[in-house]
């Protein structure tokens, strides 16, 4: 988000999901769409059926790699080198869009200078991708009539995540593949309402609609609306919170619908932080691992039990409609927060979630024209600046949100922890189709269908370690260890293990590295060193 905000002025998917079937070239990097965003994967397959070309950049032989025209099997953590290499080839062949660069962007010369040293030969050596494939990918992408980049956490969950994103923005601007239908840069958001949680200012430095807390005008607006003085200093990001808990700068934490013990990297460190708190409140629908540590657990309601809105990855705000009453003695999360605020002396007296949306619209320019009634059955894509506005299908047409697009010269960087003698395997993590984060293990049918972790390991490594399909092994890193079943497959290259984050019995994040991106403080879930040992 921060990367695209720097380059374009807005950290969201630039295009719409239903533009995918008409795209001519798709450049999919660090995204296993058919499993992590299945219906987007479906749309990509529909584009292929219509003759679109597909470039996949991924160390794993994912489903889309099987269907691709070019599959760049790069070494994990070498994305910037690869993108710079592709830009080098584009410039060397004169495939760049000079008119677009001149009219719409700034900072190009520096990028041009930086990518000069990323010759195909050098890049091939760093990334492990053959030169011919780099050239083919560069030509396909740069010379396409319309081309879209798609990425997800394979790009952002690195210590250089923000730089990875800005590199992709550079590539799009270099070729003019942005700001028009079926051409753009599309980060696909992982969870149902990540986009919305960001949009609503559940971030330490912005109010709803990305209005900075440090901006005095914005502060004055919210002080007037809410009738209290507000703090202009940004607050803690998640990794800071656990540090601050250990150092006793943080005393209480209120966790709404998250399970950081399972989902945050270096889980043992997170657990230590939570245990150091004086007071922990967890509001959840399940008794999560984090809830088990709480002083008070409040039962929230599931999506079927409440009315409100989610913002999807293409900025579409859509209705969530209540179908049943909250289960047992549970209450909706909104109701609980309102009751708590009222008890603390600041009455939150909303009659409905619709009334909350009215307040959001009043204070948030990109949501100004949104009401529950207008959303109806089709939703609206923000920005929706006024009550008659039809919503925005794709961003940056004619002009970037920040004015000129910003090229940022970026050099390749190594992951914080690479395999070594003691921890010789590279562990990368992600999702699989049958599960969603740590949620769906609570679905009896999905649990029955896909009950356990199956860590992927290459046949060569399995043979060397004398491991059999389905065998339970121990995987350990500098931070923790766990047991998991394995599956022997060519999907992963030699030296790599892949695990998901879905299972309580094999909690992968005890292994992952707590190192994070310098800007967003997103953990490096995609690369760390582990050891695999036979149990018997």
């Amino acid at each position: 988000m921060a990367g695209l905000a720097t380059s374009f002025g807005s950290g969201a998917m630039t295009n719409s999901i239903n533009e995918i079937p008409n795209t001519k070239v798709m450049f999919v990097i660090g995204s296993n769409a058919t499993e992590a965003h299945p219906v987007i994967g479906t749309k990509m397959k529909q584009a292929l059926a219509k003759g679109a070309k597909l470039i996949v950049v991924d160390p794993r032989r994912i489903d889309l790699a099987e269907r691709s025209d070019v599959w760049l099997r790069l070494r994990p953590g070498t994305d910037i080198a690869l993108i710079n290499g592709i830009m080098n080839i584009i410039i060397a062949n004169g495939w760049e869009d000079r008119a677009f660069i001149e009219a719409r962007t700034e900072g190009y010369e520096k990028v041009k200078e930086t990518v000069q040293k990323y010759t195909p030969e050098v890049v091939s050596q760093v990334t492990g991708v053959p030169v011919e494939q780099l050239v083919e990918a560069a030509k396909l992408y740069a010379t396409a009539e319309t081309a879209q980049i798609f990425y997800t956490l394979g790009i952002t969950e690195h210590t250089c995540g923000t730089d990875n994103v800005m590199s992709l923005a550079n590539l799009a601007m270099l070729t003019g593949n942005i700001g028009k239908e079926s051409s753009g840069v599309n980060p696909m958001r992982g969870q149902n309402n990540v986009q919305g949680a960001c949009d609503m200012g559940a971030l330490p430095d912005v109010y709803p609609g990305y209005q900075k807390v440090a901006n005095p005008e914005v502060q004055a607006k919210f002080e007037a609306a809410w009738g209290v003085p507000l703090d202009p200093n940004p607050g803690f990001m998640i990794p800071d919170m656990f540090e601050a808990a250990v150092s006793k700068d943080l005393r209480a934490l209120y966790v709404l619908g998250e399970d950081p013990v399972i989902t945050d990297a270096d889980a043992n460190h997170v657990r230590k932080g939570l245990k150091a708190l004086d007071f922990l409140v967890v509001q959840e629908i399940f008794l999560s691992e984090t809830a088990k540590l709480a002083d008070v657990v409040l039962p929230g309601a599931s999506y079927a039990e409440k009315t409100g809105t989610f913002s999807n990855t293409e900025r579409r705000v859509q209705m969530v409609n209540q179908a049943i009453k909250p289960i047992g003695n549970a209450k909706t999360d909104g109701e609980i927060i309102c009751e708590l605020a009222t008890r603390m002396g600041y009455p939150f007296e909303y009659q409905s979630s619709e009334e909350v949306m009215q307040e959001i619209a009043k204070l948030t320019p990109i949501f100004a024209g949104i009401t529950h009634q207008r959303l109806g059955t089709q939703g609206l894509q923000w920005p929706v600046p006024h009550a008659e506005h039809p919503g925005t299908k794709f961003l940056h047409e004619g002009k970037f949100n920040r004015g000129l697009g910003q090229f940022v010269a970026i050099d390749n960087q190594l992951p914080a922890e690479l395999p070594d003698e003691k921890y010789p395997f590279l562990l990368s993590t992600g999702r699989k189709l049958s599960h969603y984060n740590v949620f769906t293990q609570h679905s009896p049918s999905l649990e029955n269908y896909s009950p356990e972790e199956l860590a992927e390991i290459n046949p060569t490594d399995a043979k060397r370690l004398k491991l059999k399909e389905g065998e339970v092994v121990q995987v350990s890193s500098r931070r923790g260890e766990l047991k998991t079943k394995i599956i022997i497959t060519e999907r992963v290259p030699v030296g790599m293990v892949f695990m998901t984050l879905h299972y309580f019995d094999s909690p992968t994040n005890v292994l992952t590295n707590g190192a994070f991106d310098k800007v967003t403080k997103t953990y490096e879930y995609k690369v760390c060193g582990v050891q695999i040992s036979k149990l018997s």
Partner: protein, 352 residues
């Protein structure tokens, strides 16, 4: 756009060039029965139930694959047309189980609907009936090949919506079947269990296993909502009976996904009733979480947070908001932290 004028059952109508006769009829509220047609799939012209009479044409053409042409005169309900349709239905029913009473599709079955409308008895053509094994080896989809009418919509949905091409016809004539390669059960094939096949099946050959025996269409109310798994934002209908969610069905008007869903969205809704749900507030007493009432829990939190704020300042308190909760709830959470507690210590797990 070029417009054509055609006459349907004596009524003159205008339709855009490129419209099929079927769509021309449906645009003008003239009912035509179809079994193999679905607006989101390419037309096969397989079931022939949509036949009409068109002046100047020798046979009865299927309207779904016949383009409207200027001046065309179409009849949709004359005895010749109706007889042809009735014969097709008689032939289908002749090799279809008549266990409608216990069929999950009862009340939502296109074959039953048309058989009723056309007075089909099932008595005209007597003969051998299929007796094939039912595929129930997976937790999601129940496949009864004996009820299949060979419309081919599931095959097209698997190919054109899902891009998987798991399903196809096999064998010939009476022995024709639809299924995965080698007639493997679904769970031994490469099926993703997206359920697109179920969403287009006009009869009871493919049904949601979780919903079997849970409710009849007329007892169920449908509530359109947004899926809680992943950021694509698919919409679907929660099927509710007696205050309980019994399943999920596609909503063809869903803006992002149409009828397409994935295994989680279509079948993961049983998570709502997981035994692991917390259904009452819990307070830690003597090291153990014990049930409490709402007043006690909320008062305790308000008091504790108040004390901590007073002693250590507002910045000693932080909150994690949730990418699973609604916009309105996230708004309230950040307002609570900023306006009530007085800190910007609010974040959530996915700010990449």
């Amino acid at each position: 756009m070029e417009w054509l004028t055609i006459t349907i059952d004596g009524r003159e109508v205008s339709v855009p060039k490129g419209t099929t006769v079927l769509d021309a009829c449906r645009m003008n509220n003239i009912p035509i029965p179809t079994l193999c047609h679905a607006p989101e799939l390419t037309s096969a012209g397989a079931c022939r139930l949509c036949v009409v009479q068109i002046e100047g044409m020798r046979n009865l053409p299927p309207s779904c694959v016949t383009q409207a042409a200027q001046g065309m005169k179409v009849e949709t309900q004359n005895p010749k047309v109706r007889n042809a349709r009735k014969t097709i239905l008689e032939l289908l029913v002749a090799n279809h189980p008549l266990d409608c009473m216990t069929c999950q599709k009862m009340g939502d079955c296109s074959l039953a609907e048309y058989a009723y409308e056309y007075g089909v008895t099932g008595e005209i053509y007597q003969g051998e009936k299929r007796n094939l094994p039912i595929d129930s080896g997976n937790p999601f989809i129940l496949r009864d090949p004996n009820k299949c009418i060979m419309c081919g919509k599931c095959i097209k949905a698997c190919t054109e919506i899902q891009g998987k091409s798991i399903l196809d016809f096999s064998h010939r004539g009476f022995n024709t079947q639809v299924g995965p390669a080698f007639n493997l059960p679904y769970h031994e094939s490469d099926c993703d269990f997206c359920g697109s096949c179920v969403s287009v099946c006009p009869v009871g050959a493919l049904v949601e296993k979780q919903m079997v025996g849970k409710g009849r269409p007329w007892e169920v109310s449908k509530v359109q909502t947004t899926c809680p798994f992943c950021g694509v934002g698919c919409n679907f209908d929660l099927n509710v009976k007696d205050g309980k969610v019994i399943g999920v069905t596609s909503n063809p008007d869903a803006p992002v996904n149409g009828k397409a869903l994935c295994v989680k969205g279509r079948f993961g809704m049983d998570m709502i009733y997981s035994d692991n749900r917390v259904t009452t507030p819990l307070i830690r007493k003597d090291g153990v979480l014990v049930p409490a009432d709402w007043d006690e829990a909320l008062d305790l939190i308000a008091t504790k947070l108040g004390e901590i704020k007073k002693t250590y300042g507002p910045n000693s308190i932080a909150a994690l908001s949730s990418a699973h909760c609604t916009n309105e709830e996230n708004y309230l959470m950040q307002k609570f932290m900023r306006a009530v507690i007085g800190t910007n210590n609010i974040d959530h797990c996915a700010r990449t």
